[in-house]
Symmetry: C4
Subunit: 117 residues, 4 copies
């Protein structure tokens, strides 16, 4: 194996940086996905309750009375916010995967020995 | 110590992979075991309450009224689900331990110097 | 690169120690900032409630009834305590940053080759 | 620096093992100390409540009504259990510190060059 030329080394460093970014993105996506599933499940459960159900909500370490309509509204907002964030993360992931693919191809082409070599 | 032949190196890599899988399994098992103990303890405590006891349940960050019968039913389902998962993990652990044992024996046999050596 | 003289080595060790202290400070500051934001948000939400609102507070794993006035008072104290702590951490951070700057300048001066060298 | 004789190497390995045990003990002690402080603070706060105060307790993800007397009793038991555990950990820590001291002295004596050397 010959020494790796500087411009390829710099591409390999870029590749590693992309891979780290991708790993971080995937972790963030999983966290948002878990939160979204929990919010959706809670919404489903709250929506099944009668309209005059006794519902409390936690506010930090305090617990205050709320109403079904308000609780449903807040959960719907939460679900929406999390879906927007999840979509943004998925777009970033797709873009980054494309960059990774292109860079990997470029690196492989650079490392290919010349035909007449 | 002589160089390790390629086929033994590949078995050693497989061994390491099995050990990592086993470590992960043991961690998952402990987590499920803790959840199961908590669910069993909660079930025991709830079952002792009078049938008309005031019981609330948390739904995400919300708290809603429930009934003893429903709470007991949900806890029993949870205990059952966790027991099924624990059994599955224990079966996987047992299988993996057998594979590990076989592979270790195979590696030891490969590394034994030939009798006439 | 020549050997680094002992007094510069000791300054480099000091620099590293300062950088670790700074990193710790920044982490503590972020934690206090998050707690402060949560306390402020809770205060805002509790203040909007009617004076006779049903409010509970968590005491460890117990939940006890409280009143709006008391809850607001406790949250205000919490916000104040956290603000004092945040200010103290910010002062420490500023001081440490100045020390880091001075030491870096001193190290650079020590490593500069003599004019006639 | 000469090669370290095998029996000293084994003492150094033992020393490192003691230090790791000590670090673990200190972490456990801190955790129990934090839990104990929380339980004591909760007990103090619950004891101040009127005897007929509305108190709930969390049982896993469920919340059930309890009474002041019962809550106080459970908290007292918790405080007692944690104090017993803390004392046991402190005794272990003291013993380990003595062992560490003795072993360090033994290692230093072993490494001291002979008088006529």
């Amino acid at each position: 194996m010959q020494n790796i030329p500087p411009q390829v080394q710099s591409m390999l460093a870029q590749l590693e940086s992309y891979q780290q970014q991708l790993q971080l993105l995937v972790q963030q996506k999983q966290k948002v996905q878990v939160e979204l599933n929990e919010a959706k499940k809670a919404l489903e459960e709250i929506e099944k309750l009668p309209d005059d159900a006794v519902i409390y909500k936690t506010v930090g370490t305090l617990i205050v009375k709320t109403e079904k309509a308000k609780a449903v509204e807040e959960l719907k907002e939460k679900v929406e916010t999390l879906e927007v964030r999840l979509n943004a993360l998925e777009r970033q992931e797709k873009k980054l995967n494309e960059k990774l693919k292109e860079l990997t191809a470029k690196i492989q082409a650079s490392l290919k020995p010349p035909v007449a070599g």
